[in-house]
Every structure is written in structure tokens, then in C-alpha cells.
Amino acid sequence: MMLRIRNLSASVDGKPILRGLELDVCAGEVHAIMGPNGSGKSTFAQVLAGRDTYYVVADELSFQGRDLRQMPPEIRAREGIFLAFQYPVEIPGVSNLYFLRAAVNAVRAHRGLPELDAVDFMSRARDEAKSLGMDDAMLKRSLNEGFSGGEKKRNEILQMKLLEPRLAILDESDSGLDIDALRIVADGINTMRSVDRAIIVVTHYQRLLNYVVPDRVHVLIGGRIIRSGSKELAMELEEKGYGWLEEQAAAEGSEYKPGAKRKRDSAQPREKPQPSRKVS
């Protein structure tokens, strides 16, 4: 088992976002996590990568048999967890190529491999960039600075390809892409599929899953996975939306009741019950 999650909860400022999430992911598999806005998808991705803004509690959170909670974010990255960000940050003055090489060499050093020299790295980066329809100029520009939404998403995929992670988590890598860019990004993801690598695709829409066909589809609502199935589940969601599952979850006595007011500590009143907070 590559990733094993039992009863995972995460909150921000006492506000629960994930509530008892369970998931197993094996090497070689592609899992899709779908759900409406505010259901906790991005939080889940960030928690896996080690973002410390969340208060995390779990019975188990292990990656390749090791407790993730003991690992700071950079160690998780070097151990092979990669997160393609929904909103990649800009770092002015740091060239894309320089950053990529620093990242690749940090991961290589951790694995006991020698540093790649600048020339070898450059030619590899160029080839990969070309396969994603990115020109050389983008490698020389400052990291993500002034990149369009689509360029940022492609750049994330480029980083994934160069870093060769064991577990890749793609947080809405399809959002904001036109159909051609979507195809390129999907091809990039597909070339990463391999027996010793797992991929988790987080998405709103079934659209990306036409190109990246998942082995398992999970529906995340109210901070927990309430339904898992094969790729057909994604089709069903596309057709019916999430409403019927939300109702079903409520009927089954789940703690999550859409639209219902949650019990709150009166010392900290909040205006809206719906956790619509976006993780950026």
C-alpha cells in the first residue's frame, strides 16, 4: 500500500474541513477525487503535502509504510510526494529553470544520486517542456511570474515530469484550461502512469477523466468520502450532479447535513455554515 489513510480530520481555526476521511491508494493506480466546491478537496491535497495551516488528526496517515505526520513538507517532497498546485505561486527574479534544477537536485541528493549538471538538466527540461507545448522562453522567465493560468498549470506538469514522484497529487490541474491545453496536460499526466507510481487527480468535472481514465473514483462531500466506485461513477456525477449524493448522505445519518447549521462554540460565532473557503 502506497498511501493509507484512516479517520483523517483537519481543521482551520477550529473550523472542521475534513471529517474522518478514509482512503487507500496502491502503486500503479490512478484515483480521482471529485466533489462540489468547499467539500475539502484542496484541503485534502494540501494536508497530504504537509501544509501546516491545518490542525490534523488521524488514526493513520502513512506513505510507503511511514507516518507522514512525522515528516516536514520538504521531506515528503523528497520521499516522492508531489503536489501540482491549484494556484501555483509566483517567485519574482527566480528563473523557472534555476528553480526546477534546485528542486530536482534536492530530491536527487535525498535519494543519494549525484547532482545533474546544468547542461544535462537544460536539455532534459527543454525536451519535456517541448512535449507540453511550452517554449524555451518560459524556462528562462521568472517562476510563474506573468504566466497565464494555462501556462502555470503546464508548468506544474513540467515540474512533475522532471521530479518523477512516487505519488503525484494533481489539484484541479484541469481548471481554466481550454480544450487543447487540457489534452496536453492530460497527455502529460498519462505519460506519468506507471506500475510504481500512484496518481491522485482532484477535480470538479468529469471532463479531465475522459482523457485520464481513473481506476477509482471517490466522491468527497462534507469532508469525507461518501461514495467510491469505478470510472462509471464519474459519468453518473456528470449527469446527475452532486445533489442526490448529498441528500443520500444526509438520509443515511451522516454528520454532514447540507445547509444545516452546525453546533458551534458560542464564543466564536460564524456567519456562514457552509465551508466555502478556498485553499489557495
Partner: protein, 346 residues
């Protein structure tokens, strides 16, 4: 003061020697130019320097000679409870070129010390002077005790047509820095530039910037100032751009960026613009930013440690200035930035 490669320079007619020696050997040049850019009455500390200075550096580059080496001097304050008042005079004759580097360090002392230097540069027709400083005087301890007061007057005169003077500085040391290297753009088509990175950590204060005085026609100036404040550090950019009536088609571009680390430091920007000719074009851009948690997390997610993430972000922030330094100096400056900001991130 010892100089190396002196013979090689002498063959080209370049004089580079201690000031005390220049007074003996080249009195005509010293008399003609000393005090011609920074008069003894310029400001309190310049007056003090003019009254007491005993030595410093002198360089003269003859007509049409391109100085093949980076001339450099290195200053050190060793004595306790003392002041240092050195003087530097560089003259670039017609069509010559010189790049000059200056570095400073001082050992730790628990009392404050004064450094009040004066630097004068003169560029004649078509001459070009690049002056770079890496200032690392003792900044005081982490509670603000001791450290150097760095009150320095630096000014260059672009006396000839098409002349160029650029100041590049990386200021990481000193308890208090007051320093405004400027350019007097007298010659038509002359160009002045100021590139600065100033770092303040703990209780350091830096008040630095430049003065660009446009007198000749078609004169141009560029100002790029990057301030980084951490701890309780205070960082001010204070700059003046003055376009006189005679300066037809003068151009200035100023950019001041500040980076804050932590919530107890400060960044301040005081741009003074004085324009007396309506054909002038003067631009000023300023920004203040913080190193974001999301930037650090992003770097960590790619395998960099938090420390490497911060130094990567800071080096990116300073890139425009560091790239103006000669290669070896840039490498040193990067390391120095890292050392100066060590421990300033949670």
C-alpha cells in the same frame, strides 16, 4: 595599504595608490580634483573627513585606457573606540573605463564606532566608472548594542559628454547607515545609475538612496533600490531626482522595492522629485511585499528546505542589483545576504 598588480597597471599609465602617496607623486591631479565633487563644506561628516583624513585610495585612468583589472580596496577598522575617515578619489580621463570594488569589515566591539568616508568620482568625456561596494561593517549585537555608524558621502561627477557612472551597493552591515551615492550629470548625454540592496536585521537602521542631478542635455539616470527588513530593522529609501532647466530631454527611472520579514520591522520610501524642465520624463515605481507562507510552502513542496526557500526568494528579489556586480563579488554578496538574515525566519 598595499596594492597588487601595480607594475602591470603602471605600464598602462594607470595610477592606483594610497592617497598619502598620491599627494607626493601626483600633486597636480590631487589639487585639481580633490574636493571638486564633494566640497569640504558639503555636510557635517564630509567636513569632519576633510579636516582629519589621513589616507585612502587614489586612482587615475589615462585617456583611452580600459583598465584590465577590477581595482579593489578593502577596509577594516581594527582599533577600539576609534573613527575611520578614509578618502577615495577616482579620475577617469577621456574615453577610459574602470571598475572599482570596495569591501569593508570590522570586528565585533561593544561600543559604537564612526566611519565617515568621502568618495569622489570624476568621469571626463566618454569615460565610464563602475563603483561597487559590499559593506559588512559590524552591525551590533542582536539587541542593538555596539556597531558601526556608517555616515558616508559618495558622489560622482559625469563631467564630460557621454560619460557614465554607476554605483552598485550591497549594504548588510553597520548599526546605522546614512549614505546617498549620487551622480551629477553635467555632460550632455551622460548617464548615472544606482543599484542598491540594503538589509537590516535585529536593530539595524539603514537610510540610503541616491541623488541624481540632471544638468546636461539628454542625461539619463536609473535607480533600482531593494530594501530587506527583518527583526526590528528599519530600512528607508531616500532619493532625490533633480532636473535643472538646462537638462533638455532628461530621463529618469526609479524603482524601489521593499521586502519585509516578520512583523516588527519597517520599510519607508522618500522619493524627492524636483523637475524644472518640461521635456523631462521621470518615472517612479515602488512596491512593498512580504515573503509569503505560500511561497515558502511551494518551495518546500518541491524539496527545498525552508531556509533554502527563503534565500531563493531573497536572491530573486535582489537579482536586478546582484547582476550588476562582477561575478565573484555577486557570489560573495549572495552568501552575505544569507548570513545577515540567518535566523530571521521563524
Amino acid at each position: 595599504m598595499a596594492t597588487t598588480f601595480r607594475e602591470k597597471l603602471e605600464q598602462l599609465g594607470i595610477y592606483f595608490c594610497p592617497f598619502s602617496e598620491a599627494v607626493q607623486k601626483y600633486p597636480d591631479l590631487v589639487q585639481k580634483y580633490l574636493g571638486s565633487v564633494v566640497p569640504y563644506s558639503d555636510n557635517f561628516f564630509a567636513t569632519l573627513n576633510s579636516a582629519v583624513f589621513s589616507d585612502g585610495s587614489f586612482a587615475y585612468i589615462p585617456k583611452g585606457v580600459r583598465c584590465p583589472l577590477e581595482l579593489s580596496t578593502y577596509f577594516r577598522i581594527n582599533a577600539r573606540e576609534t573613527g575611520q575617515f578614509e578618502r577615495t578619489l577616482i579620475i577617469a580621463d577621456e574615453g577610459s573605463y574602470v571598475s572599482y570594488l570596495e569591501g569593508c569589515t570590522a570586528p565585533m566591539r561593544d561600543r559604537n564606532q564612526l566611519h565617515a568616508a568621502v568618495v569622489e568620482l570624476v568621469a571626463l568625456d566618454d569615460a565610464e566608472i563602475h563603483y561597487a561596494t559590499v559593506q559588512n561593517w559590524y552591525p551590533g549585537d542582536n539587541e542593538g548594542r555596539g556597531g558601526i555608524y556608517n555616515f558616508v558621502t559618495k558622489r560622482g561627477k559625469c563631467q564630460g559628454v557621454n560619460s557614465k557612472i554607476s554605483w552598485t551597493q550591497v549594504e548588510t552591515g553597520s548599526a546605522i547607515t546614512w549614505k546617498y551615492p549620487g551622480c551629477i550629470l553635467m555632460g550632455d548625454n551622460s548617464t548615472g545609475a544606482f543599484y542598491s540592496v540594503a538589509v537590516t536585521n535585529n536593530y539595524q537602521q539603514a537610510d540610503t538612496g541616491t541623488k541624481m542631478i540632471h544638468i546636461g542635455k539628454h542625461t539619463r539616470s536609473t535607480i533600482v533600490s531593494k530594501g530587506i527588513s527583518a527583526g526590528h530593522g528599519q530600512n528607508s529609501y531616500r532619493g532625490m531626482v533633480k532636473v535643472l532647466k538646462s537638462a533638455e530631454n532628461a530621463r529618469n527611472y526609479s524603482q524601489c522595492d521593499s521586502l519585509l520579514i516578520g512583523d516588527k520591522c519597517g520599510a519607508h520610501t522618500f522619493p524627492y522629485l524636483e523637475v524644472k524642465n518640461s521635456t523631462a520624463r521621470v518615472e517612479h515605481e515602488a512596491s512593498i511585499s512580504k515573503i509569503g507562507d505560500d511561497q515558502i510552502f511551494y518551495c518546500q513542496q518541491r524539496g527545498l528546505s525552508a531556509e533554502d526557500a527563503v534565500s531563493t526568494i531573497i536572491n530573486g528579489f535582489c537579482k536586478q542589483v546582484l547582476q550588476e556586480l562582477p561575478m565573484e563579488f555577486a557570489v560573495e554578496a549572495r552568501k552575505l545576504l544569507g548570513v545577515s538574515l540567518e535566523g530571521s525566519i521563524g
